[in-house]
Amino acid sequence: MEARASASWDQNWGKLGLLPLPAPRGGERGRSNLPPIHPSISPDCALVAAFALTVVASWGIYALLGLGIVLVYRTSRILNIAGGEIAMFIGYVGALAVADGLPFPIAVALAIAAAMALGVAIFWLAIRRVMGEPPHVGLILTVGIGTILNGLMIVLFGGGMVAIPTGLPAFTTIGAVRLPTPDVVAAVGAWLCVAIIALAYRLTNLGLQMRAVAERVMLSAQRGLNVDRTLALSWMIGILAIGLAGILHGERALIALSASVIGVSALIACLIGGMDSIKGVVLAALIVALTENFTALYLDPRYVLIAPVVILLLILIVRPWGLFGTVEELRRV
């Protein structure tokens, strides 16, 4: 019985990976945290409004996170799998700032600065050296970066559950409907960020440069573009989008180690939409958010994570390049 008695090998591995089962999220709020119903409105209508707001908020957050992954993938062809960890890391920075007594906007500004610095650091220290290697190298590199960030979250921030309170009143009244403010802030903030980043990508000079690098690296270098700088910028903006998604998620729900599964949901959205399409990721984020929230509402919040997987598998069978992905992207065998 000695083998059983001594400290088990497997338990030690268990200690290493602190990614327990995803905490129920999303639709759980739709059920338990419903706002008190305004007297002048029928209960059903208030329920539907709150549920719709929940969907819009999580849609926006997934779209923002997915946007960060897609932007980086388009320019550097590296699939960033550490999205969830990066989001939570930046979320912890914001939560720490708020806990230190800073007002919410300043905490957000600090977190934004941290996200930009993190993006540039990740690019210059690691990603730059593996550009042009086979794609799996960059992918595994981001797995390593995610592991480091996960460990840092435990060591620096304790790895517990924290919130990022805005300091606003708990409910907002729009017309005759009272809605939970965190969801309103998350929805408005996320969609504002998505719109700004997507428009900047389309309209500004920098966006044009990034699209040029995404199209053809060699040609853009010959036209005098500083490719390294453009790539660094795209990583900066991508990580910024991911970090903003993390902050908004923390504002709406909680920042926790296990909450980094929002990265998985966003990745699924990217794959459904097509890895290199902004339009696709925004649409697919809606699909993922709807699936998750309806699963939580009608089935069980524990299956929130696997419900979008079913849709992803269907999409992979029918259109493996995603809804809006470039078809030549995929080298089918």
Partner: protein
């Protein structure tokens, strides 16, 4: 003007195919193999039981790492679902054991079968996809499988999972780490030798060809679909076997053991050890398995006390840093370092060998 002299072609160039592909050549190499076998057999006699226990952990990890390295290192299908496949093996063995009380070897067989089946299905899905998509499919598989296990455990089983009985091989019950050691050593030796032979055979060479460039491989007549299917199925079966072994070794099956961190630990093993190298898998598995204990001992010596939570965080940071550092600075891992050390030792006091001696 100095005209470079043409290198002399050594008379003893290996000509026969058997000699070219032999794993060991000459009396010196064979005697080192014998010494190694003797040392491995004598290990539990020399080491204290706790160390044997650690070595057992290494051996189980070696089985899983060799399989993952064949899949990710040679066939270049990046799998983030290693923990899921270990869990599939453990749950298959545990459920079969619980339902039908089958003997230990049969439970292992069932585990391998279940792993192979799931691997086959995943391969069918990921055949349509490129490397990146395979990685994401397996990542998603991980979360789906763990959620499924948590459901099974919550609805059909006790909260602590399945308790496994002491495994027995015929008349012998496996009780002590030493008894386990010999069983695990035998299985590990089989898996390692199997992997080495596989890479020399047409199957392994097909996997490598597909991993290097699937379109080129197809143009050369390699059945790409078949190669990818067989790679995924075979390695998943071996991984599930490792999962079942570790479950029996620990004595319980519970979904909480199969975290994403475990999958990353296995990925770290093959990257630190050396992508695509069997020796690398062995070295990396030992390195990563022993690393937490070594770190704990170091902290003990340095008189640093951390809460277990923080300690887990430090382990993760070290793991992640190792993955990143090896990828950036030594992509071929410990196996390459070992090769360089051996080469410089055998060439000493010279920098390199003359061309005429290389072939021997």
């Amino acid at each position: 003007m100095i005209t470079p002299r043409a290198p002399r072609i050594p008379a003893s160039l290996p000509i026969s195919a058997g000699r070219t592909f032999a794993l060991r050549r000459g009396r010196a190499q064979w005697s080192s193999v014998f010494v190694g076998i003797l040392a491995l057999l004598a290990l539990p006699v020399v080491l204290p039981p706790f160390w044997v226990h650690l070595v057992n952990g290494c051996l189980i990890a070696v089985i899983g790492a060799v399989a993952l390295n064949l899949l990710t290192g040679n066939a270049r299908l990046v799998s983030l679902g290693q923990a899921a496949f270990l869990g599939i093996g453990a749950f298959a063995a545990g459920l079969v054991q619980r339902a039908y009380n089958v003997p230990f070897p049969m439970a292992l067989g069932c585990a391998a079968l279940a792993g192979g089946l799931v691997g086959y299905v995943v391969a069918q899905l990921s055949l349509r996809l490129r490397a990146l998509y395979v990685a994401v499919t397996t990542l998603v598989l991980h979360f789906a499988v763990v959620t499924l296990f948590s459901f099974v455990q919550a609805v059909f089983l006790d909260s602590s999972g399945i308790l496994l009985p002491l495994p027995s091989l015929g008349v012998l019950e496996l009780r002590t780490p030493t008894q386990w050691y010999y069983l695990l050593l035998a299985i590990t030796a089989l898996v390692v030798l199997g992997a080495l032979n596989l890479l020399r055979s047409f199957i392994g060479r097909r996997w490598i060809a597909v991993g290097e460039h699937d379109v080129a491989a197809e143009a050369l007549g390699v059945p790409v679909k078949q190669a990818k299917l067989s790679a995924f199925t075979a390695t998943s079966a071996v991984t599930a076997l490792a999962g079942a072994l570790s479950a029996y070794y620990v004595g319980t099956v519970s979904f909480e053991s199969y975290t994403f961190g475990l999958a990353i630990a296995y990925l770290a093993m093959i990257i630190v050890g050396g992508i695509g190298s069997v020796l690398g898998s062995v070295l990396g598995a030992m390195f990563i398995t022993l690393l937490p204990y070594v770190l704990d001992q170091l902290f003990l010596v340095a008189d640093l006390k951390f809460r277990p939570n923080i300690l887990a965080g430090i382990h993760q940071i070290v793991f992640g840093t190792l993955i990143v550092a090896f990828l950036l600075f030594e992509p071929r891992g410990l196996a390459e370092i070992w090769r360089r050390m051996r080469l410089s030792a055998s060439n000493w006091p010279f920098q390199y060998r003359s061309a005429s001696r290389v072939a021997r």
